[in-house]
């Protein structure tokens, strides 16, 4: 669960990135976070990953109270979160298999479990047969699927997708959102940050709109996906 209570973030430059934001995303929810560039979406993600601290207010993620979280406990928090970036951020020197498996190495998972879990997740996201490929041999859609597999492999409670469709074709974008929806159906909380309003309209669901560092809309909208 994600909960922000009256959270403000002011950067050292004096810019108010978030102002008195309160937000709650329950376990098992799927939420789109939308807003223009500079609205505060990236700041929100940085807050949830404890890359930055709130200037005021409290933030709670998956049971961790972030304002009281010690530096050495940050890895434990991040292990409960899967993160997918717009630019994939795969390690170019590693194969697809290694890119996914190293997340399990981080949590010191037994080698036997890694050998079973990684192919399972690869299969889940549609990457069968790509184990030995390197990131530079993959298409944009495939790269994003690797990033999603990496985010999923340690069974996180919360999956944050930061503009996951920003670098891929629109048709492939629907496939990615479909994938995220199916992951959500299996119980993982998903927060997808995007500025693609068309995509949001098509799928619908809970939509949180941030403008100028404030939440200006937070409600459930009907999608158009099945209308066409």
């Amino acid at each position: 669960m994600v909960e922000l209570k009256d959270v403000s973030v002011t950067y050292s430059s004096g810019v108010d990135a978030l102002e008195h934001v309160s937000l709650k995303i329950n376990d098992g929810d799927f939420a789109f976070v939308v807003g223009a560039s500079g609205a505060g979406k990236s700041t929100l993600i940085k807050l949830l990953l404890k890359e930055i601290d709130a200037t005021s207010g409290t933030v709670s993620v998956n049971g961790y109270q972030l304002d009281a979280l010690k530096k050495r406990e940050i890895p434990k928090l991040r292990r409960t979160i899967g993160i997918v970036f717009q630019d994939f951020r795969l390690i170019s020197s590693m194969t697809v298999y290694e890119n996914i498996a190293f997340v399990l190495r981080v949590i010191d998972a037994p080698p036997k479990y890694i050998r079973k879990r990684v192919p399972y997740v690869m299969n889940l996201v549609g990457l069968k047969g790509k184990a030995k490929a390197h990131p530079d041999e993959l298409s944009g859609g495939e790269s994003q699927r690797v990033a999603i597999a990496r985010a999923l492999v340690n069974d996180p409670k919360l999956l944050i997708a930061d503009e996951p469709t920003g670098n891929i074709d629109p048709e492939l974008s629907y496939g990615i959102v479909d994938l995220l929806k199916s992951i959500n159906m299996q119980g993982t909380t998903v927060m997808m940050v995007t500025h693609e309003h068309e995509l949001v309209k098509r799928f619908g669901g809970r939509i949180i709109n941030i403008e100028g560092g404030q939440i200006v809309f937070d409600d459930i909208m009907e999608g158009t996906e099945y209308e066409t």
Binding site: P75, I83, R89, R105, I107, D108, P110
Partner: protein, 301 residues
């Protein structure tokens, strides 16, 4: 962390050398050159010190005894001299030996010696080698206190020159070694930072998925240690070849050896163990610590 986890991280360190072979090779070269520069500077300093020591050892203080000193007193004086601090060696030189040597040196002036008949105008003496010539004045003062001593002949000027030379050389070589160490540290630090900089994105990704600082640092540590170890091996080989070649040239210079004394140039076989340990441990240590510390800037995400 489990043993399998540690093994994985160590393997990652080894694999990373190959994956980032260009940067690893650059680090290897920089470490190798730095180690060779510092190593050869230290060896040069040790040899110069040894050569000055060789020159110093050739200096003698001659203690002339009073003419009426009997054998018992001579023996007691020798013991007194040996008991003094800073005395390395005491050799008795009888007045008869001295007279024969003088006659030998002045063979062309037989007439002079004929006029003396059986009279030997010379006195018994002790030839003394002292340990630290910088303390020669103090030692000579102590010898002067012995009642049987008539006169002391000591190479004050030469000793003063050598002492000054040693001081100047110590400062110059010390400054040179320090400069080498500073330059090497800066170059090594920049090279490892560049190497880590090229992989900053990898470090950031690891941090995002919950990697601890040690999980990220251990492969860099292993990678740096292995690169540094091989740089140490290379530096050792180069130093060995260069050092052997230089010592061979010096050992063939008869005039030089006459001045500095045979054995003043330290043979490689006498110092190979500390040199090997210093190169290998120094290389591995600098490589490991340098790499691990260079991650600091990017690890704080």
């Amino acid at each position: 962390m489990k043993l399998s986890g540690l093994r994985y991280l160590a393997e990652q360190g080894v694999e990373n050398i190959w994956k980032n072979r260009m940067m690893a090779f650059a680090s290897f070269c920089v470490l190798l050159v730095s180690l060779v520069l510092v190593g050869i500077s230290v060896l040069a300093y040790q040899n110069v010190t040894s050569m000055i020591g060789g020159v110093e050892a050739k200096n003698e203080v001659i203690v002339y005894m009073k003419d009426d000193t009997d054998e018992a007193a001579l023996s007691q004086t020798q013991q007194t001299l040996l008991n003094l601090p800073n005395i390395a060696e005491v050799n008795f030189y009888s007045k008869d030996d001295a007279y024969l040597a003088l006659k030998d040196r002045m063979a062309d002036y037989d007439v002079l010696f004929e006029s003396l008949g059986d009279d030997n105008p010379l006195v018994d003496s002790f030839r003394i080698k002292i340990q630290d010539i910088a303390l020669m004045n103090k030692t000579v003062s102590q010898i002067e206190q012995i009642g049987t001593v008539m006169k002391i002949s000591a190479p004050y000027e030469f000793v003063s020159f050598l002492t000054q030379l040693r001081t100047v050389l110590s400062w110059v070589m010390g400054a040179l070694i320090l400069a080498m160490v500073i330059v090497s540290t800066v170059i090594i630090s920049n090279t490892t930072k560049t190497s880590v900089y090229s992989r900053r994105e990898e470090i950031r990704i690891m941090k995002y998925v919950g990697a601890t600082d040690s999980f990220i640092r251990i492969p860099f540590f292993v990678e740096g240690m292995i690169t540094g170890f091989f740089a140490g091996c290379g530096a050792l080989l180069i130093t060995w070849i260069v050092y052997d070649a230089v010592t061979n040239i010096l050992n063939n210079q008869a005039t030089l050896l006459n001045i500095i004394g045979v054995g003043s140039v330290i043979p490689f076989k006498e110092i190979y163990l500390p040199i090997t340990l210093a190169y290998l441990l120094g290389g591995a240590g600098i490589g490991a610590v340098g790499s691990a510390f260079s991650t600091e800037k990017y690890i704080d995400v």
